[in-house]
Structures are given as structure tokens and as C-alpha cells.
Symmetry: C2
Subunit: 241 residues, 2 copies
């Protein structure tokens, strides 16, 4: 079952951006906190963007061994302080509110096609989360968003973050499958490139507004991607599920 024409046995999903819309969810959570506290004049979408921009560098400190395994809640909470320090009136947000806003990453809304597409795919394939989010985060987010997985795998299982190959390989091993029988599903070419480098198949899902209407990245798949889909319903159709 490893030839290019054969179906994979399992699908491993990126979650942030691919399954859920972190940007509008986080911006809305920030705006609600601001309203409640009477903090005005903050561009919460910009806060969401700058917060997310610190994600890669924060993960890199774990990937390169500078710090031991650290869950996203801790990394998010630290980088929120850095983001708010440069965000004018938002810097008035008290510590307890920052803790609460950090947990908004556990309650991100899905894209409109995600729950249905995933449920259709699960009828035919083993579906697993292969996120950099830790297990508790993905469990909370999936219950909020109505996403049903056969297993929540990902970075916590490997003790490091994507795109380190250990993460993809550990997930395939947990599924009891060679990487060639697993298909990584993501809206991000870097994730798919790393998965392909580990021998996985790849499916690119277009999320053209993950970063807002002016998005310039990941608008087309990298060369060599096995399947390209407009969303998860389309992926289900293309994979015969």
C-alpha cells in the first residue's frame, strides 16, 4: 500500500490554520477582554498577528535544545507579555486576563468545512491530530470545534516541535504504520516539506485567509504534493471518502 497510486492508511492533520481559524478567534477573545475591562483603541487582530509571529522563534528554542520540552501554554503566555509590551493600551491587561487569553488558544473556531470534512475522512481513514499544540490544548480545542480524532498525536508525544523529523516519525510509529502509509494534511508548505522528507505523503489544503485578506504565503502547494484540496470537504471527495 505504499505506491503513489494507493491510498494512505492514516491522515495526520496540522491543526492551527489548517483545521481552525486562530486569527479571528484570538482577535475576538482579545476584543472581548478589552471591552470587559474598558481597554480601548487596541487593534486586536494585530495583537493576534504579532502573537502568532512569535510562535516560530519560541518553538525554535525547544527545537534547538536551548530549553527543554515546554508546552505551548507556557510559550504563548511568555510571548503575550512581549506582544502587549509594544501594543499601547493593551499593555494594561492584568496578569489574570493574560492567563485567560492564553487559554483562548484552547477554544479556536473551526473553518466551516472542518468538522464535516474530518468526519467524512474518518469513515475511511484513521485520522489523527499532528499538531504542535499539546494534548490538553488539542483536546479542549477539538471539543469546542466538534472535531473527532482517532488519536491526538503531535509534538508532545515526540518531546519537540515540528518541523523536526522526530515529530512526524514518532506519529507514524504511534499509528503502527511506515511513514509512506501516512498522509500529512496541512495548509503550510513547510510542514508538508518536512513530512515528505520523512517519507510521508502530503495533502495541501488551501487556507487563503488564515493570515487575513492580504495573505501572501501558502497560496499554492509546493512541488511534489500528492493532493491539493480547496478545503477538508474537498479533500474527502478527492480521497474517495
Amino acid at each position: 500500500v505504499t505506491g503513489p497510486g494507493d491510498a494512505p492508511r492514516a491522515l495526520l492533520f496540522d491543526v492551527f490554520g489548517t483545521c481552525v481559524d486562530w486569527r479571528t478567534s484570538i482577535a475576538r477573545a482579545g476584543a472581548r477582554a478589552g471591552e470587559r475591562l474598558g481597554i480601548e483603541g487596541v487593534d486586536w487582530t494585530r495583537v493576534a498577528d504579532t502573537w502568532r509571529a512569535r510562535y516560530g522563534p519560541a518553538l525554535e528554542t525547544v527545537r534547538d535544545g536551548t530549553r527543554p520540552w515546554t508546552v505551548l501554554d507556557v510559550l504563548h503566555r511568555e510571548s503575550l507579555d512581549e506582544v502587549l509590551a509594544g501594543a499601547g493600551p493593551a499593555d494594561a491587561l492584568p496578569a489574570a486576563e493574560r492567563d485567560a487569553l492564553t487559554l483562548a488558544w484552547h477554544r479556536l473556531d473551526p473553518w466551516p468545512d472542518t468538522a464535516e470534512g474530518l468526519a467524512r475522512l474518518r469513515r475511511r481513514f484513521v485520522v489523527a491530530a499532528g499538531s504542535n499544540g499539546h494534548i490538553a490544548l488539542i483536546v479542549g480545542l477539538s471539543r469546542h470545534a466538534g472535531l473527532v480524532w482517532d488519536a491526538v498525536l503531535g509534538a508532545e508525544l515526540a518531546g519537540t516541535y515540528k518541523p523536526r523529523p522526530e515529530v512526524y516519525l514518532r506519529c507514524a510509529r504511534a499509528l503502527g504504520l511506515p511513514p509512506g502509509e501516512v498522509m500529512m494534511v496541512a495548509a503550510h508548505n513547510a510542514d508538508l516539506r518536512a513530512a515528505a522528507g520523512c517519507g510521508m505523503r502530503t495533502a495541501f489544503v488551501l487556507r487563503a485567509t488564515e493570515h487575513g485578506p492580504g495573505q501572501t504565503t501558502d497560496l499554492a502547494p509546493r512541488e511534489g504534493v500528492d493532493v491539493t484540496a480547496a478545503d477538508l470537504r474537498d479533500l474527502a471527495a478527492r480521497l474517495g471518502a
Copy 2:
């Protein structure tokens, strides 16, 4: 939320025996292989019982560090050879059939109440598998049996087997909860005793025929169990789910 009168946030389930009927499932798989191969005069229920009896000692070699983390498929396959060596005509089973019979542990049937009870409990609580079965085994078994989990945790995550405390503590950590907010659900007092020793709450589910009609063990809960239930539907009712 940690007082004895409060509800837990998550339920961690033992699987073999508690959720699925390994004994009749394995006996049937053996009988089918025997029929197909013309092997007669084998008491396959006895094979299932003696196979399961080797489970504890096999796990102990990992628990005590004699051997590194080894998944149940490997331990089951090794002990099957030992079991069949003393099982008369069943010892004619070829190696490939032994491999296939080992995978019957990935397709155990649920007790009649399990899928519905678990689905009801999942509406109110985070539900996670906390089995000694590795992730691939529990994923396959759960798809076969129609069991839906928020997460598949358990021994593989901890790198050792229950009842070592590391397993319960690692599962609680993956759920992002202190042990006192997690309830271990099992048909086995030894499992519940170890979970309680780690600070978890405990629910005893009666499975009076797990070991057949003559079962003498685990017919009543240990002292100090928080909830006792006749099955998983009853547990859902008792926990208000």
C-alpha cells in the same frame, strides 16, 4: 473541583476487560483460525485464558526495567508461542497465523453498553483511554468497537505499564489536570488502587464475566472507591451524564 463531592473533569478508562470483552473475542478468533486450517480438538477459550495469564508477567519485564519499552503486539506474539507450545494440536498453528491471531487484540468486541455509555459520558467529561495497549492497538480496537475518545493516552505515552504510577501521572499531565480532577474507570481493583495512590478518583465497573462464568476476582470494588457502576450506561447515569 477536587473535593470528594465534586465532579471530575476527565475520565481515564481501562480498556481490556473494562470496555471490551477480550476473552470471547480472542477465543472466537482462535476458533476461526483453527477451522480454516483444519486444527481440531483445541479449547480456544482456554488458549485465550492462558494467553492473558501471561500478560502480567510479560508486562513486568518492562515495568522492572529488564527490557526497554516494548509494545503489546511484541509481548503478545512472544507469549502466544509459549501458550501454544503447551496446547496440543494448536501448536500446529503456522507463524503467519500466529502473527494474525496476535492482531486479533486490535479487534476486540465491546461489551453491549460500552459505546453508548462512553458517548454519553463524553458529552459531559473529557474521556481518554488509559490502557496498557499501545496507541495503534487502541485506535484499531476503538474503530472496530465504535468507541470515541477525546484522546488515546496510556502506557505508550509513559513508556512503561500500569500499575506503575508514572502511567497515571503522565496521563493526568497530558490532560492538563491535577490527578484529583481525573477519575480512573476500571473493572480491576489493582488498577484503581494504583490510580488512587496517585491521587485520582476511582470508578469501579463490574464485569462479572470478563474471565468467564466462574470468575472469582473483581466481583466487588475495593474499599474507598468513589463510584461503583453495573456498566458504563450506569456510570453515565451515576455521574449525571
